[in-house]
């Protein structure tokens, strides 16, 4: 895995951090229980991280054509 690939660790750490550190129903966020909202947030962040990796990854453009 090239340097930029290590960014892929971020979604794993983020996804698990919420439930591990704050396993609680409250505070409700946008009407959702805290953990559910946390996971939704990290789905969005993960997608953004993958877009960033795609953008920075020299391989991704080459394989495209």
């Amino acid at each position: 895995m090239k340097g930029i690939g290590w960014l892929a660790v971020v979604p794993f750490v983020g996804m698990f951090a919420g439930p591990v550190l704050h396993n609680s129903v409250t505070p409700f966020v946008l009407g959702m229980p805290f953990i559910l909202a946390w996971i939704v947030l990290w789905v969005l962040i993960s997608s953004a991280v993958m877009a960033l990796i795609y953008w920075l990854d020299p391989d991704s453009g080459g394989a495209e054509s």
């Binding site: 895995m1 690939g5 892929a8 979604p11 794993f12 996804m15 698990f16 439930p19 591990v20 396993n23 609680s24 129903v25 409700f28 946008l30 009407g31 959702m32 229980p33 805290f34 953990i35 559910l36 996971i39 939704v40 990290w42 789905v43 969005l44 993960s46 997608s47 991280v49 993958m50 877009a51 990796i53 795609y54 990854d57 391989d59 991704s60 394989a63 495209e64």
Partner: protein, 486 residues
């Protein structure tokens, strides 16, 4: 009656598309199973996304939210992490499969480790893991037909009807039919789930926020993880197990061969996490059902989504929801059936007795009804929730991950003996826990809570890795010595 008619029409429509997709394509082995490797981004996206929206999501996720609450959240988390892994893993798998004209997952292991015996083992694990996955699709079909007939058709008959439709569909169309039906299926399920997920909480509780507040009042703690059992530790280990195993399913692994370029997978890794956010609305349905139609227990929780639909809407809406449900079982069900039959024909029978491609396709097509009967039997006899069935399959199939990922490294530290021993050890642990109904909590009452709550699949995975590393170290040393002597 109207509900059943709509469901029947959707099945006929899917069959029609399957026949149409088939015309103009010679159905050789590659054509039947990997679509001749000519699928662009859109179709591969749909084949892989087809894995997100199955009966598992539609009925399983809503039922799990209904019955257990917070543990259902894992379903939203694991796909995302699986796509992160896929960004790096699938392009390498795809390129190797293409270079060597591979058709199935066992081919990949057999070629990488230069060991036909390992290929046979991988095929065996794949078929064993696919059985609960197939059973859950049939269970879902049975639940739908049962609910749409308002109980007039009993479970057993409903499952048999579902199994016959899936079998016909596979024999007629192969993978092309699946890809095209996927388009209709995904459009239908997104519309239905968004509608139900927004309308039902609004109608019954006045909104999504109000619904969650009501659930929290009625069942305190239901929306967070429990302190024991399905705890945070269960969540983390289950998400890891299923994220690693996501692309180890023989049919998903095989579906990725059908891509035209490797870039498809990298783009998918960005888009697919967003695509599965629709799951959120499935949860909303499940949690609303927990308030409105309480009382379902165990396997009956599979009915939660349909039960609240029946309670809230006239029969024609039930018909539309049911028809969508049929499609969500038909597409993955057909892929699974086709895959299990092809694995058996190519990677068992053809290893023992060489067959031509035509003979293999013929044998695979003959095996399809056999596998369907096995699946239908377990669907009728069993009493598991849909999610429990899938997790059982995952415990098996994830055992393939360690030796696969090592084989993609520049210099593979794992030997064929190591890979073989690791998979056997991991699967052995899973079989032990499944057969004996043991849990870590019972087996080791003195251990700390977080260790006892680990998903047993992850425990098997650790055993697998340890054995794989140990045997590889021993056999690799042997190999070096042999080289060093002369």
């Amino acid at each position: 009656m109207i509900a059943l008619v709509l469901i029947g029409l959707s099945a006929l429509l899917a069959l029609g598309i399957g026949i149409k997709a088939r015309s103009g394509h010679e159905m050789g082995l590659e054509q039947w199973t990997v679509g001749g490797r000519g699928f662009g981004a859109a179709l591969v996206f749909l084949l892989l996304a087809g894995e997100i929206y199955t009966t598992f999501t539609f009925l399983g996720a809503s039922g799990y939210a209904y019955g257990l609450g917070a543990p259902a959240y894992y379903i939203l988390a694991y796909g995302t992490l699986a796509y992160v892994i896929s960004y790096f893993m699938l392009p390498a798998v795809w390129a190797y499969a293409r270079r060597h004209s591979l058709v199935s997952q066992p081919d990949f292991f057999a070629r990488k480790y230069d060991s036909p015996v390992l290929g046979v083992l991988v095929a065996l694990v794949g078929v064993v893991a696919l059985v609960p996955y197939l059973v859950l699709q049939f269970t879902g079909l049975g639940v739908i037909v049962q609910a749409a007939s308002y109980g007039a058709i009993p479970k057993g008959v409903a499952v048999v009807i579902g199994a016959v439709v899936v079998t016909l569909y596979v024999v007629i169309s192969g993978i092309r039919g699946s890809a095209w039906t996927s388009i209709i299926k995904d459009a239908a399920i997104i519309l239905v789930v968004l509608f139900l997920g927004i309308y039902l909480p609004l109608h019954y509780e006045g909104g999504i926020g109000a619904m969650f507040a009501a659930v929290d009042t009625a069942k305190p703690g239901f929306l967070a993880f429990a302190a024991t059992g399905k705890s945070v530790s269960w969540f983390v280990s289950t998400v890891m197990l299923t994220a690693l195993g996501f692309f180890m399913w023989p049919h998903s692994f095989g579906a990725c061969y059908s891509a035209k370029t490797a870039g498809v997978f990298r783009k998918n890794a960005i888009v697919l996490p967003l695509y599965q956010l629709v799951l959120l609305f499935v949860f909303f349905v499940g949690f609303t059902a927990a308030l409105v139609v309480p009382g379902l227990k165990g396997a009956a929780t599979n009915m939660a989504l349909l039960k609240i639909t029946v309670a809230a809407f006239p029969p024609w809406v039930v018909g539309i929801v049911g028809a969508t449900g049929v499609l969500t079982a038909l597409v993955p069900g057909s892929l699974i059936l086709m895959c299990a039959a092809t694995l058996f024909a190519r990677n068992f029978v053809a290893v023992i007795r060489p067959l031509s491609d035509e003979q293999t396709v013929k044998l695979a097509k003959m095996l399809v009804p056999v596998v369907a009967v096995i699946g239908a039997y377990f669907a009728i006899a069993g009493s598991d929730t849909i999610v429990a069935l899938l997790l059982m399959g995952y415990s098996f199939v994830t055992q393939l991950f360690p030796s696969l990922i090592c084989s993609l490294l520049g210099r593979n530290p794992v030997t064929k003996a190591g890979a073989f021993a690791g998979i056997v050890a991991g699967v052995g642990v899973v079989i032990y826990f499944t057969m004996s109904a043991e849990t870590l909590a019972k087996l080791a009452p003195g251990w700390p809570e977080w260790l006892r709550d680990l998903n047993v699949g992850t425990v098997a995975l650790l055993v697998n890795v340890a054995v794989m590393a140990g045997v590889s170290a021993v056999t690799a040393r042997g190999r070096v010595e042999v080289k060093a002597i002369p």
